[in-house]
């Protein structure tokens, strides 16, 4: 009797990876704290520095710190997404499974971004208490929708990082030493246009830069970001996010080919 072909579902694999990440988080939720402390403190410091600069700077502080929380979780979580497989010795078996590895990583990255959002909400609540009230947002519904889209842009970066981290021993270095560089480069707390012009093309390589600029256009009256304005930012965010997801797919395909050819992923 012939064996029935293995049945698998990419969506089910992603959901399973997501569920496992949630369970691991619930088993030891203290890991939200490291990625949350810095944004909360930076938000409070920025709030103090912006205090005399007008009402909309509260939005800057909250938006920036919330983004930093999600960025931090994406940076650290994505590195860990492949790092944990390598540490537990499950990288090769997972890649050998019928489901493309990309869909397993996607589940983990989605949880990282969501847990970053939880961190962002905590930051928001802390600032709300300190400031004594919510910030003024001109279009709350648009703001919420765009914020969700920014989470997607972060997830796309997370997937690319996770793919890249398979091939490097410097994941920890990039996460820890490069943390501030990512905050600066994507304009978490201030518009990227304030940075020297030659750095702008580098910043524009990251989808969250576009998304965050669009979000500020939407929520801060009189905001002056990139000259192409809100719709240009939105278009750029969609284009770069698509490019990132496509690139991640290519890299993961190569990783899988590599495993089949070499039989291991220990040499990197």
């Amino acid at each position: 009797m012939a064996a029935a072909p293995a049945q698998y579902s990419r969506g089910r694999s992603t959901v399973a990876a997501f569920r496992l990440s949630v369970l691991q988080f619930l088993a030891d939720p203290q890991w939200l704290v490291p990625s949350m402390i810095a944004p909360v403190i930076f938000a409070l410091v920025s709030f103090e520095l912006f205090r005399v600069a007008g009402p909309y700077f509260l939005t800057y502080a909250i938006l920036g710190a919330g983004m930093m929380s999600m960025w931090g979780q994406t940076l650290y979580g994505s590195g860990w997404a492949t790092g944990q497989d390598r540490e537990f010795g499950t990288l090769e078996p997972t890649i050998q499974a019928p489901t493309p590895y990309l869909y397993v990583v996607l589940g983990r990255v989605l949880w990282n971004v969501l847990s970053g959002l939880i961190g962002g909400l905590i930051v928001y609540l802390v600032i709300l208490v300190v400031a004594g009230g919510p910030p003024t947002v001109t279009d709350p519904l648009g703001f919420a929708l765009l914020f969700v889209f920014i989470m997607v842009t972060l997830a796309s970066v997370g997937v690319v990082f996770a793919a890249f981290y398979v091939y490097t021993r410097y994941a920890g270095f990039i996460q820890n030493i490069g943390e501030f560089a990512f905050y600066i480069g994507t304009g978490c707390m201030f518009p990227v246009v304030l940075l020297p012009f030659f750095t702008n093309p580098i910043s524009l390589l990251f989808p969250p830069t576009w998304g965050l600029d669009a979000l500020r256009y939407l929520s801060i009256p009189g905001y002056r970001g990139f000259e192409w304005g809100f719709w240009g930012d939105l278009l750029g965010a969609v284009a770069t996010t698509t490019a990132y997801l496509g690139f991640a797919g290519m890299v993961f395909y190569r990783v899988e080919r590599h495993v089949l050819e070499e039989g291991n992923l220990s040499e990197y």
Binding site: A38, F42, F57, N176, F180, A181, Y183, M189
Partner: protein, 275 residues
């Protein structure tokens, strides 16, 4: 030879051997983030990116050149926490994970030598981090460092380095009772940015937060370095140096006290695994 092996003379530990062994071995074993790339990143990259970040935040908030310079000095000093606090407080985590804590506790090694030895390389890296940070402050953020202030500045930086590493060891002692030191390390890695007069004067905070800030060695270190740069009198500086030295002595003393207490508990309960 055989006499030496069979003789019942007690094994004598050498203070300096313990000191040097720990100084050389701890960066490779128990201290966190001591790989060469991390050290170079801590000394050269983190001060620059942190200072740039806060300089732009100040600029966006309407602060002028003076405020940017103020923030640059504060952050140049505050980056010392990466090597002195975050890295050093992980020693206990590493010992627990590697299963060497038991051996350490029953060894006759002099605890003072052990602690100072472990702190040596972090102190040197801390000095390098602050020096590079102040260099960036002068070259990129318009901070003026008068040549006459350099001797006082050196004293302030060295004292701050000692105090901060002592504080890191103290946190490592506290972490003996925790599941992990990472959370503690992360809290004290950044809390100084808010409570130590790094980005704005401490006086702009509510009184309870000012008191909390006064308990941190970084607060006194930042104040001493600012005072040295401002060319304050030796009387003013002396008081601040005394405060930093006191913070260092208290931190080292409390760290050793915590370890002793932990050892006694371990002997009494027969277990060090419960935390």
């Amino acid at each position: 030879m055989s006499t030496a092996l069979t003789a019942s003379a007690p094994y004598r530990t050498s203070f300096w051997r313990t000191f040097w062994t720990n100084a050389v071995m701890a960066p490779r074993t128990s201290l966190g983030f001591m790989r060469v790339d991390f050290v170079l990143g801590t000394v050269f990259v983190i001060p620059l990116t942190q200072m740039v970040f806060f300089a732009f935040v100040v600029q966006l908030g309407g602060g002028g050149a003076a405020k940017v310079a103020y923030t640059a000095i504060g952050n140049a000093v505050a980056t010392v926490t990466y090597s002195s606090v975050f890295s050093v407080c992980q020693t206990t985590d590493s010992e627990k994970q590697q299963g060497t804590m038991e051996h350490l506790l029953v060894s006759p090694a002099n605890r003072l030598a052990l602690y100072f030895g472990r702190g040596l390389i972090p102190i040197l890296i801390s000095l390098g981090t602050v020096a590079v940070g102040l260099l960036y402050a002068a070259l990129l953020f318009g901070v003026v460092i008068p040549p006459s202030s350099i001797p006082a500045l050196v004293v302030s930086v060295v004292l701050t380095g000692f105090a901060m590493v002592g504080f890191g060891l103290l946190l490592g002692g506290v972490a003996l009772y925790l599941r992990t030191s990472i959370i503690l390390g992360n809290i004290f890695l950044f809390v100084g940015l808010l409570l130590s007069g790094v980005n704005f004067p401490l006086s702009s905070l509510p009184l309870p937060l000012q008191w909390a800030g006064d308990l941190l060695p970084l607060t006194w270190g930042v104040a001493a370095i600012r005072s040295a740069l401002a060319g304050d009198s030796i009387a003013t500086l002396g008081l601040l140096w005394a405060a930093v030295a006191l913070a260092a002595a208290l931190s080292f003393g409390l760290a050793i006290g915590l370890w002793k207490y932990f050892e006694q508990r371990a002997l009494a309960t027969g277990s060090i695994a419960r935390f």
